[in-house]
């Protein structure tokens, strides 16, 4: 009985001891290779690596930080829209004031009224030679800034407004 019990214990120990040693060694090696904060570090790295990819599309020499440049571009684009809306509001206020004074609204010339842009462009477009009608710059924005948008992957937050026509590839059937 004693001999048999001793043999069973030794056999069990012979099986369990190497397995325990293997588990301990494996755990130690894994722990040595993995730091507790490695997941957070990976996230940080991937976040910063996407920023230069956007900026690389149109590098801005005057702005070394691409994230700031991208944000600045958004600020500029929105500023233009704000200015446009302010102009529209001012025009509408002028028309409202004119109506209050009894002047027909149609006779009030504002910065966005059709007549003003039409007459100015008519003069320039009468030139018949190509050189005379070469494209010129429109009113420049406050400062140059890179504008980078995505055409394919990102859907617009607001649907495109209705349009009268489309410009695109020549020969396309619309």
């Amino acid at each position: 009985m004693t001999d048999r019990g001793t043999r069973v214990r030794w056999t069990t120990a012979a099986l369990v001891a190497p397995a325990a040693a293997a588990v301990f060694t494996g755990t130690t090696v894994w722990a040595a290779d993995h730091e507790p904060a490695s997941a957070a570090a990976t996230t940080t790295t991937s976040t910063t690596s996407t920023a230069p990819a956007v900026a690389a599309a149109d590098p801005a020499p005057a702005q070394p930080d691409p994230v700031i440049a991208s944000l600045q571009a958004a600020v500029d684009a929105n500023s233009v829209q704000v200015a446009r809306l302010r102009r529209t509001v001012a025009d509408l206020q002028a028309q409202a004031a004119a109506i209050a004074k009894g002047i027909p609204a149609a006779s009030v010339r504002t910065s966005t009224s059709p007549g003003s842009s039409r007459s100015s462009a008519r003069t320039s477009s009468t030139a018949s030679t190509p050189k005379a009608s070469a494209p010129r710059a429109a009113a420049p924005a406050s400062r140059p800034a890179p504008v980078v948008r995505s055409a394919a992957p990102a859907p617009a937050p607001v649907q495109a407004p209705a349009t009268h026509t489309t410009t695109g590839a020549s020969g396309a059937v619309k």
Partner: protein, 329 residues
């Protein structure tokens, strides 16, 4: 007194015409047309047809092809063809050679010597027996044609020219000039090139969607135009395969091959459709690396889509943008 709404019988509904010419859909739109609008529309259509007839490279008897055949000898051509060749020469000089109409041999070598069915989407042509070879003996020097304005005679030189793009822009320009007084506002468009006069049907300008060259129905931007022209150069449609070589119709004059551009499309807004067409092509050929600097240098209102689908704009374009696709994030 009657409370019925009084309708002014002199106010007509908008006049819209559409026809096929220059391998493109051509459209006229006259807002609140005047009494002579129909006559003006007929005149405008006639000028488009004359440009198509005289400036085509697909008809060996056209004025352009006769001038090409004459090469260094004088050839008398129509007014439209003469003016188109003069305009092409001006564009060649203004773009420092980035626009060069002497690409006919390249297009012919690519099998584009007739109207091709690009709408089939995957057009594959057999390679010529000797393969696609660059035109021999061509040196990329400044183009120096000769013009005799009294006789309407031209000497285009030894290298045949193609007026495809600029011819369309000029047709739009001339048709628009004839239509301008036909109504309160007009739109003339032909295959991506257009001229919008007046303030549009609703009084707040003409809304023009800029096609996404990647595909889909959503545009990359919507432009609001008042008395402005617009043209787009894109490889979305006119791309095909010759043997095992992918090619398209926008030829780089410096390499005599389809432009190895990392751009998918370039749109230019300007005062004149022919110049918008010229610059859209020149900017496309220059590629993404140079497009912003070139556009700013020349004060061009340009929008481009690169191979990754990203959209860029020059400063001069921003006042024309009514809507644009959102940031990628």
């Amino acid at each position: 007194m009657s409370s019925a709404q009084v309708v002014d019988p002199s106010v007509r509904s908008d006049l819209r015409t559409e026809f096929r010419s220059m391998a493109s859909d051509v459209r006229f739109w006259v807002v609140r047309p005047g009494a002579d609008a129909d006559h003006r529309v007929a005149q405008a259509r006639a000028v488009v047809e004359r440009v198509a007839t005289t400036c085509t490279r697909f008809d060996p008897t056209s004025d352009l092809m006769r001038a090409n055949d004459a090469g260094s000898r004088w050839a008398v051509v129509s007014r439209e063809c003469f003016d188109a060749l003069v305009a092409a020469h001006d564009a060649h000089l203004a773009t420092s050679g980035r626009f060069d109409p002497r690409v006919l041999r390249v297009l012919t070598a690519y099998g584009y010597d007739a109207s091709l069915p690009f709408e089939t989407r995957r057009l594959i042509l057999a390679a010529p027996a000797g393969g696609i070879a660059r035109a021999r003996g061509f040196r990329s020097r400044t183009w120096r044609p000769r013009f005799d304005v009294d006789r309407l005679a031209v000497r285009v030189g030894r290298e045949p020219v193609d007026l495809g793009g600029i011819g369309k822009g000029l047709a739009v320009r001339w048709a628009s000039d004839l239509l301008r007084e036909a109504g309160e506002a007009t739109l003339v468009e032909a295959g991506g090139d257009l001229m919008a006069t007046g303030s549009g049907p609703d009084g707040d300008g003409w809304s023009v969607a800029v096609e996404n060259p990647v595909g889909g129905t959503e545009p990359v931007a919507v432009l609001r135009l008042h008395d402005r022209a617009c043209a787009t150069s894109s490889t979305r449609v006119r791309s095909w395969t010759v043997g095992d070589t992918a090619v398209h119709h926008l030829i780089d004059p410096s390499t005599r091959r389809s432009a190895d551009s990392d751009l998918l499309s370039v749109t230019v807004v300007g005062e004149d459709p022919a110049w918008a067409e010229v610059w859209s092509k020149a900017l496309f050929v220059g590629g993404r690396a140079a497009i912003r600097a070139t556009a700013e240098e020349h004060g061009l209102a340009a929008l481009w889509v690169d191979g990754s689908g990203r959209v860029g704009t020059s400063r001069a374009l921003r006042p024309h943008v009514a809507w644009e696709v959102s940031h990628a994030g």
